[in-house]
């Protein structure tokens, strides 16, 4: 039984059809990558799944529930965590404060009015633990806007992980990163627990072929190929898309 399922998704912006009849299914524990040239509709599909955008047609199912009409925060509480393509953090706060915000909600204490936040030591401990997982524990008192780009990207992932999701959606996690930073991010994602289902939208082919169990290829808003990395790499349609257009290999 698939954990995440989209069926017949279509999305128009004015006259432009960004997505047409897109369907896919992701199994629990799977590592799925969504690739395609610029303008293929990857981020649009991503946003439809997370709830940032509503589709014009079709359905999104998660954990046996129809979530098509549910708002972003409800989907997050059902276990669908996601990161953003451009760093979407709490830039004026410290790294630790960022993660504590995520943890305190998940632990259900965000409504507490009369105790100081810092006295909730369990929250702080969990937050520090998460920071250690992504390698940011040493920088926990830094203001986020002063962090290096790659570190901010890692914090993005930490925030999404803090909600203990069933499925983690990553929108171009290695966007704008140097080769060294990319390597760190790939290690991070690779080290995620096998029970966690991961869906990645990516441009970097090396990253995709290292991490993915299955790959879905989008082009002009439609699914044109899907399968295991070897199959997709050998698919003539896919080769034409990538060799005919400008190469996107990192």
């Amino acid at each position: 039984m698939s954990l995440l399922q989209v069926a017949g998704i279509s999305k128009q912006f004015g006259g432009l059809a960004a997505l047409t009849n897109v369907s896919l299914q992701v199994q629990p524990g799977e590592r799925r990558a969504i690739i395609g040239p610029n303008g293929a509709g990857k981020t649009t599909l991503f946003n439809v799944i997370t709830g940032e955008l509503s589709p014009n047609g079709g359905m999104v199912h998660f954990d046996n529930r129809d979530i098509t009409a549910l708002p972003v925060h409800t989907r997050a509480n059902l276990g669908l965590g996601h990161t953003f393509q451009r760093n979407n953090l709490f830039f004026g706060l410290t790294v630790l404060e960022n993660v504590r915000l995520a943890v305190q909600h998940h632990r259900g204490i965000a409504r507490q009015l009369f105790r100081a936040a810092v006295t909730f030591e369990a929250v702080t401990a969990e937050a520090v633990g998460l920071l250690e997982e992504v390698g940011l524990a040493a920088d926990k008192e830094q203001i986020v806007s002063t962090l290096a780009y790659g570190q901010q990207r890692a914090l993005e992932v930490a925030l999404a992980l803090a909600t203990e999701p069933q499925a983690l959606l990553l929108d171009e996690p290695t966007a704008g990163m140097s080769p060294a930073e990319t390597k760190d991010m790939v290690q991070l994602i690779d080290a995620l627990p096998p029970s966690l289902t991961v869906l990645i939208v990516e441009h970097d082919m090396d990253v995709v072929f290292t991490l993915a169990d299955r790959i879905t290829v989008l082009h002009h808003g439609q699914v044109v190929s899907e399968g295991m990395p070897g199959q997709v790499r050998a698919d003539p349609t896919v080769q034409e898309i990538y060799l005919g257009a400008e190469s996107l290999a990192a």
């Binding site: 305190q104 909600h105 009015l113 009369f114 105790r115 925030l159």
Partner: protein
């Protein structure tokens, strides 16, 4: 140079905290007995508006919601207590007891805040600003036109000074001096409550919403509910200050609801510095003292007010607190 002197002063103050607190306490307690009645009156006004400004800070400084209609809650506090307690023939004249009147005021204000928030909190930024301004003006127009209840443009007079009654024992805050202590007590209560709230997980949530509401939603927060809560809390604290003002001047007036009042408290906040609790207190002090001082020299004190606001916006956007801190990280 100034920065070094300020740092040294700050350090000394922090090292001698108990001394400072004791000095402040003595000043506060002795104040009504050593100053002229006019200065005492100013002190009471400053404290009342400090509560008002701090309440707006919760909304604007901490949650990031720029309300230009906060006078609505200020005026609601004034009018509700007036209607409940005034001996005017229009009003109910039910009781002088603050322990009865205050909960009613708080509850009614919270209700109005939830209803207004239901519409207004669907927007943010400039839209929110315009809509809160419009809603406040709506209350103002109701106050002006519904003369049979609100006294129209004259407002409701005959508002008595409050009394605290429990069991058989009552104490009436009739004199200016005793009223001062009531206001001081409520000011300290509000201040301490707000300090708790802003450093609580709820307060951190509000800050998260201010910093990045979209991210908060992605983390699972129902931000609309939190904003409504902040709106209601801010409204309730504001209504306390409106209640006190009506009781101090024995009068609830439409001016309490007017856009100019919303503007005044907003100016206090900007000039003092948002996102801190000291800022609004300093701003309230400055903005109550300035017109009083200026109007003895010139009729053009409103122009002066506008100029002060513009100067701060252009050259010291983080307010007095920002200038004193000189760029240190805000809590």
């Amino acid at each position: 140079m100034i920065a070094i002197q300020l740092t040294n002063t700050r350090a000394w103050l922090e090292a001698h905290q108990r001394l400072v607190l004791a000095a402040a306490a003595i000043t506060a307690i002795a104040y009504p007995f050593v100053v002229k009645p006019y200065i005492l009156s100013l002190g009471i006004e400053v404290l009342i508006f400090a509560i008002f400004a701090m309440s707006l800070d919760l909304l604007l400084g901490y949650t990031g919601l720029p309300s230009f209609g906060h006078a609505a809650f200020f005026g609601l506090g004034a009018y509700i207590v007036a209607y409940m307690t005034s001996r005017n023939e229009l009003a109910l004249g039910l009781t002088d007891n603050l322990l009865l009147a205050l909960p009613v005021v708080l509850l009614a204000t919270a209700l109005v805040a939830v209803v207004v928030g239901f519409f207004a909190l669907r927007t943010s930024g400039i839209y929110f600003l315009m809509i809160t301004l419009a809603f406040a003006q709506m209350l103002f127009s109701i106050a002006i036109r519904w003369s049979s209840v609100t006294g129209g443009s004259d407002g409701l007079t005959g508002v008595p000074r409050p009394a605290l009654g429990l069991g058989g024992f009552t104490y009436a805050f009739e004199s200016r001096e005793s009223f001062y202590f009531l206001v001081l007590g409520l000011f300290l209560t509000v201040w301490l409550l707000l300090r708790r709230i802003v450093s609580s997980p709820f307060g951190m949530t509000l800050r998260g919403i201010r910093e990045n509401e979209q991210r908060m939603r992605a983390l699972g927060y129902n931000t609309f509910r939190y904003k409504t809560a902040a709106f209601a809390l801010a409204g309730m604290f504001a209504s306390v200050s409106g209640l006190l003002l009506a009781q101090y001047f024995w009068h609830a007036a439409p001016q309490n609801l007017y856009w100019a009042m919303s503007g005044q408290v907003l100016i206090m906040l900007v000039v003092g510095g948002t996102g801190t609790l000291t800022g609004p207190i300093l701003g309230a002090a400055l903005m109550r003292l300035l017109p009083n001082f200026a109007s003895t020299y010139t009729d053009r004190w409103q122009t002066l007010l506008g100029l002060v606001l513009i100067m701060f916006v252009l050259f010291a956007p983080k307010g007095i607190v920002g200038v004193l801190r000189g760029g240190r990280k805000q809590p």
